[in-house]
C-alpha cells in the first residue's frame, strides 16, 4: 500500500490532520487534496470530535501550487474541482486550528486561511508568491485573505507577493498566535484542549453565527444569532453549564 498523503489521529476529542508529504513541502496535489476532503467529511460524521488541528509533517506547513496539467487543458473545470481543498476545511463543523509549523505559502496558506484559528512558529513565513510566478490563487485566497486582514493588506500581499514573517503576520491579524521555534503544534494542542472543554454545540453555533453572520446584513446576522441562542435553550449542556458554574465545579458536557 502506498504511503498516505494525509494522516489522521485522534487523541481524546481532538482530531489531527497531518499533511504527510515532507519531501514535497506538503504541496497540495490531486491525491493530497482528495485525502483532505475525505478526512474532513469523516470528521464531520464523528460526533465525538470537538476540535481539529491541521499541521504539516516536516519543516513546512504546506507550500506551492499545482498548475493545470497538460492532459487537463480541455477540462480545467474538472481539474480545479479536484484540486480545490480549502472549502472542505472551512466546512468542518467543529473549531479548526492551523498549527503552522513552518512555511505556509500559496495554496498552503489558503488551507490555513480556511481554518478558524492560526498558530504560527516564529520561523514560519506566510504569503502568496503566485502573481510573481505568473499564477493566480484559486483556493479562496483572494476571498478569505481580505476578510481576515482587510482589503489594503490583502491587495498588498497578493499583488506584491510579499512574504511575511510570523511576527508581522501577527500584527496584521493573519495569525492569532506566534510561538517559539518548534512549539506551534504544542500551543495548538493547548488551545484545542481548552476548546474541547467548552460546550460543543455552543461553540459550533458560535462559529456558525460569526461566519454566516459576516455574510449577511447586520440585522439578519443578529436574527441568526438570536435563533441559535434560542435553539440552545433546549440543550442539556446549557443546564449543565449553568449548574456547574453556580456550584463551582467543572462542567461535564455531553454535546446534547
Amino acid at each position: 500500500m502506498s504511503k498516505k498523503s494525509v494522516l489522521i489521529e485522534k487523541k481524546g476529542a481532538v482530531v489531527f490532520l497531518l499533511l504527510n508529504r515532507p519531501e514535497t513541502s506538503n504541496l497540495v496535489d490531486e491525491e493530497l487534496a482528495l485525502e483532505i476532503k475525505d478526512n474532513c467529511r469523516y470528521i464531520n460524521e464523528d460526533p465525538n470530535m470537538r476540535v481539529m488541528i491541521l499541521t504539516g509533517i516536516g519543516t513546512c506547513f504546506s507550500t506551492g501550487r499545482r498548475t493545470l496539467p497538460e492532459r487537463m487543458y480541455s477540462y480545467p473545470d474538472n481539474w480545479i474541482n479536484k484540486i480545490q481543498t480549502a472549502e472542505s476545511i472551512a466546512k468542518v463543523n467543529i473549531p479548526t486550528i492551523a498549527a503552522i509549523n513552518g512555511d505556509a505559502l500559496d495554496q498552503g496558506l489558503e488551507l490555513a486561511l480556511a481554518c478558524d484559528l492560526r498558530v504560527a512558529d516564529e520561523k514560519a513565513k506566510l504569503g502568496f508568491r503566485d502573481l510573481s510566478r505568473g499564477l493566480f490563487p484559486w483556493d479562496g485566497g483572494t476571498q478569505r485573505l481580505p476578510r481576515i486582514v482587510g482589503r489594503s493588506t490583502a491587495l498588498d500581499l497578493l499583488l506584491t507577493s510579499r512574504i511575511l514573517t510570523a511576527k508581522r503576520a501577527l500584527t496584521t491579524g493573519l495569525v492569532n498566535h506566534v510561538t517559539k521555534q518548534g512549539n506551534a503544534l504544542n500551543y495548538a494542542v493547548t488551545l484545542a484542549s481548552h476548546i474541547a472543554k467548552l460546550a460543543p454545540i455552543a461553540i459550533r453555533y458560535t462559529k456558525e453565527a460569526i461566519q454566516k453572520g459576516l455574510d449577511m446584513p447586520l440585522d439578519q446576522g443578529l436574527r441568526l444569532e438570536a435563533d441559535l441562542s434560542f435553539l440552545l435553550h433546549g440543550t442539556r449542556d446549557r443546564s449543565e453549564g449553568i449548574e456547574s458554574f453556580l456550584s463551582n465545579r467543572e462542567p461535564h458536557f455531553l454535546g446534547k
Partner: protein
C-alpha cells in the same frame, strides 16, 4: 511631461507618474483637480504603453483634503449631485485594471486620504500624517472613505479615526494595515516608482484579475466571492499554457 492646472503627468518606462501640484494650498483637492485627474486616469486606462502608475504630491504634502474655498459654489445641490456621478472619478480609481501606488508624505487628510485608499497600495514616508476631519467641519467623507476604510481596518478603528482629532502617524497606519511600507522621505518617490515598475512587469491580466477578485469579493457573500474567484481562475487558465509544478 504634460502639465495640467492642478497636476503634472509623465510616463517613465511604462509607469505613469502623477504629481498633484497645488503646493500653495497643500495640494487641496478642488473641482479642477477632479477634472484633471479624471482625464489622466482615463488616459492611463486606455494607453497600452502604460502598465502601472504612482500618485504623489508636490511640496510638503500629499493632499490636505477638499478645497474649502470652493464649498457652496455649486449652482445647486441637485446639479452637484448629478455631476458627482457623471464624473465618477473615484470608481475610475477603483475599477482601473492597472496597478496604482500612492506615495504619501506630509499631510494626507480627508479626500486626500480617501484618494490614497482607492489606490492599490499606500507607501508612506515617516513624516506622513493621516486624518478624516469631515465631521469636525459638518461634513461626511464622500470619496468612499466610509466604505474603503472599514474594509481595510474594520469598523471600530474606522469610527475611531473619523471621530478623533488626532493625526495617525505612518507607523500607526502601518500597524493597522493601511500602509504597506514606510520609507525615508527622500527615498519615497523612488521606492513607489520601483514598486509600480515591479507590478507593471507582472502579467497585466493577473493584476486586473486580482484587483477584481478582491474588490468584487468585498461586496459579496463568501460563497459567491469564491465562485467569482474560481471563475476568474478558469478564465486565466484558458489563456495560459504554463504547467510547471512549483514547490
Amino acid at each position: 511631461m504634460h502639465s495640467f492646472e492642478t497636476l503634472d503627468f509623465s510616463v517613465d518606462d511604462n509607469v505613469a507618474v502623477i504629481m498633484l501640484n497645488r503646493p500653495a494650498t497643500r495640494n487641496a483637492f478642488n473641482t479642477k483637480m477632479r477634472d484633471d485627474l479624471f482625464q489622466v486616469i482615463e488616459a492611463i486606462k486606455e494607453d497600452n504603453a502604460i502598465t502601472g502608475s504612482i500618485i504623489y504630491g508636490s511640496g510638503k504634502d500629499f493632499c490636505s483634503g477638499a478645497d474649502l474655498t470652493e464649498f457652496g459654489t455649486a449652482p445647486s445641490q441637485s446639479i452637484a449631485r448629478t455631476v458627482r456621478w457623471e464624473r465618477d472619478l473615484w470608481s475610475l480609481f477603483l475599477n482601473n485594471p492597472k496597478p496604482i501606488v500612492a506615495a504619501v508624505h506630509g499631510n494626507c487628510i480627508g479626500s486626500g486620504f480617501e484618494m490614497a485608499l482607492l489606490c492599490d497600495l499606500i507607501m508612506a514616508s515617516y513624516n506622513a500624517r493621516f486624518s478624516m476631519p469631515e465631521a469636525r467641519l459638518g461634513l461626511i467623507a464622500a470619496a468612499g472613505g466610509t466604505q474603503t476604510l472599514p474594509r481595510s481596518i474594520g469598523p471600530s478603528n474606522t469610527i475611531d479615526i473619523f471621530s478623533s482629532p488626532k493625526l495617525i502617524t505612518s507607523r500607526q497606519a502601518y500597524s493597522m494595515g493601511i500602509v504597506s511600507s514606510v520609507v525615508v522621505k527622500n527615498r519615497l518617490i523612488d521606492a513607489a516608482k520601483a514598486q509600480a515598475a515591479y507590478l507593471s512587469k507582472l502579467r497585466p491580466e493577473l493584476i486586473a484579475a486580482c484587483k477584481f477578485a478582491v474588490n468584487t469579493g468585498c461586496s459579496l457573500p463568501l460563497d459567491q466571492g469564491l465562485r467569482a474567484e474560481t471563475h476568474t481562475a478558469l478564465r486565466l487558465m484558458k489563456i495560459e499554457k504554463n504547467n510547471v509544478v512549483y514547490s
